[in-house]
């Protein structure tokens, strides 16, 4: 479900970047003044009405404080930004978001890589493993959240039972760190298949000749992985790094919303969830818009970072 905002594979992105520079797409083109407009207009209309209009509104309303009763808005300059950035609550949520993103990304990437390497190594049953490992990809975040909630339910959750054997009274939804644990576990669970798919296809595109040469030169499988396979996977890994961070920041919304059950007070939430809370529940439109703009900045920075790296072409294959 990750319809990523970016072209979703290293090859594609590189090609996309190449495409930006080459001016004419085709040697031969139709030369009609009006026909292309008829073709491009539907998409253009949707983009203008549902992308540019709201984006511009987000930026403008971040400079205003809206009257809670709907009687107009007052221009306040950067005040919304100042109060957002000065707020201790916002900062601690930002801290948690960072922590959450790092943890989810590291665990999901690690598990995806491990499984991909093993699935690449075995011959018997590899198709079955592959199907099993991929299928969870299509499960929506809120469904994952619901299943996770059941596993951490205080009456019927098996994890809670296991924890109680060790004297740990797990209270997901009430105890902050217990909820963090559940959120991270469910988020990682949901993201492993995606990473697995990309790592596996990265591994399988390593030429047989390279593998054979490496096998002759180096007998230790671990070392071979470290010195040959891993560098070859670097572009995939970097691409996935950005995607996973984006996932942890934005796509986990459904998981969080289901698992904290509208009781965000003492529960861990991410910055995106805060935008939603302030805008829809708290009616603080200006503050929410300012947060939106800050997040836009974050996404923008991530995108630039990705482009930078790909332009340097960190691929050895």
């Amino acid at each position: 479900m990750t319809d990523t905002p970016l072209p979703n594979s290293p090859t594609r992105l590189r090609r996309w970047l190449d495409g930006l520079h080459s001016a004419p797409a085709k040697r031969v083109q139709f030369d009609r003044p009006l026909t292309p407009w008829a073709f491009v207009l539907p998409q253009l209309l949707v983009v203008v009405v549902f992308f540019y209009w709201p984006s511009v509104q987000a930026v403008t309303s971040s400079f205003y404080i809206e009257d809670p009763f709907g009687f107009g808005a007052t221009f306040v300059g950067l005040e919304n930004y100042q109060s957002v950035l000065a707020s201790g609550e916002y900062r601690s949520i930002a801290g948690f978001t960072l922590f959450f993103a790092v943890l989810v990304t590291a665990l999901a990437l690690g598990a995806g890589l491990l499984l991909a390497v093993k699935a690449d190594a075995v011959i018997r049953g590899s198709a079955q493993y592959k199907t099993a490992l991929i299928s969870v990809y299509a499960i929506a975040p809120p469904v994952a959240g619901l299943i996770g909630m059941m596993f951490f339910d205080m009456h019927i959750g098996p994890f809670v039972t296991v924890a109680s054997w060790f004297g740990w009274q797990m209270q997901v939804g009430i105890n902050y760190w217990d909820t963090v644990l559940a959120l991270v576990l469910v988020s990682v669970w949901k993201q492993i298949p995606y990473n697995f798919i990309f790592f596996l296809s990265g591994l399988q595109s390593v030429p047989v000749s390279v593998r054979e040469a490496a096998a002759i030169d180096c007998r230790s499988g671990w070392r071979r992985f470290y010195t040959v396979t891993l560098p070859l996977l670097a572009p995939t890994a970097f691409f996935l790094l950005i995607i996973n961070v984006t996932y942890a920041l934005f796509d986990t919304f459904g998981i969080i919303d289901v698992m904290v059950k509208d009781k965000p007070a003492n529960n861990p939430i991410t910055l995106v969830y805060k935008v939603y809370l302030d805008g829809f529940k708290g009616n603080d439109i200006g503050g929410s818009a300012a947060q939106s703009v800050i997040l836009m900045g974050v996404v923008f920075a991530l995108t630039i970072l990705q482009f930078r790296f790909l332009e340097k072409r960190i691929h050895y294959g």
Binding site: P5, P7, A25, V28, S55, A132, V136, V275
Partner: protein
């Protein structure tokens, strides 16, 4: 050598179990009664009450207005999944066609306008998007549910890449034969793109079906609820009830995940290809 293989299989089996067992348990538990689940917890064994639970979830009118059934939500999710995938393919193929095959003024500007949308996910501009929808009176409509999600350039990007890889000779030949732009598009380009369209359809269907935040905001009337939205409301009813309907919640979760999972598993090869490769 044998030892390594053994550990490889062990790790893979553990990984597969970690991913699959929760799904299996969700399904199995949904076939028990709520009281059973309350007494003895989650289950890996079938319970024999599956038919009644699913019948109830699909046909019982729930919610506050009594307007929505599981079947209705299933239908709405299907409409969203199909509508989104189809809309995406139609809009993006047309736009990509204009950008690749025509020489016209502002083509570069339009190209950039469309591709900038790749930079900002919907979640970031959710609040103003909602306001725009309410200004346009599109809340609680299928149009409002589907069309705004189309405002991203992923599909356009794929098709643009694909069209650029189509040999120029085809267009030359078609023009010699007297084909106009519309003819060329419908008779040549669309049939050529069949595989590409199928791959994008799968990815987009799953994406549309799984939408959560947008339908949640756009639909306040229960007859427009999708399964994802239903999951939220079943949990809200939950709080404060004596024995929560665990079985029904799981049944709803199963209904919500079976179609996209089935699509991905059945069309696995095409799906992976669409996701990871840019063929040609």
């Amino acid at each position: 050598m044998h030892r390594t293989r053994f550990f490889d299989h062990l790790i893979l089996a553990l990984g597969a179990a970690f991913l699959m067992v929760p799904v299996l348990i969700a399904f199995m538990t949904s076939t028990h009664t709520a009281a059973d689940v309350h007494m003895s917890g989650l289950s890996l064994m079938p319970g024999g009450h599956g038919m009644e639970t699913y019948h109830k979830v699909l046909t019982q009118r729930g919610g506050f207005t009594g307007e929505v059934t599981g079947a209705r939500m299933l239908m709405n999710s299907t409409i969203l999944g199909f509508g989104f995938a189809l809309g995406k393919i139609v809009l993006s193929m047309m736009a990509a066609y204009a950008l690749v095959y025509f020489r016209f003024r502002f083509a570069t500007a339009i190209f950039w306008m469309i591709f900038t949308t790749l930079l900002l996910p919907l979640e970031v501009r959710i609040m103003p998007s909602y306001q725009v929808m309410s200004d346009l009176h599109l809340l609680n409509t299928y149009t409002g549910l589907i069309v705004p999600l189309l405002a991203s350039a992923t599909g356009t990007f794929y098709f643009r890449q694909f069209f650029k890889s189509v040999p120029d000779e085809l267009l030359e030949a078609a023009r010699i034969d007297g084909a106009g732009p519309l003819r060329f598009f419908i008779d040549i380009l669309v049939p050529l793109s069949r595989t590409m369209m199928a791959a994008i359809f799968i990815i987009m269907f799953v994406y549309g079906w799984n939408q959560y935040l947008w339908p949640m905001l756009m639909t306040t009337e229960e007859r427009f609820f999708t399964l994802m939205r239903g999951i939220k409301s079943i949990l809200q009813v939950w709080i404060g009830s004596q024995i929560p309907d665990y079985n029904e919640a799981f049944a709803l979760a199963v209904l919500a995940m079976v179609p996209p999972v089935a699509v991905v598993v059945v069309f696995q090869r095409m799906f992976i290809k669409g996701l990871t490769e840019s063929d040609k």
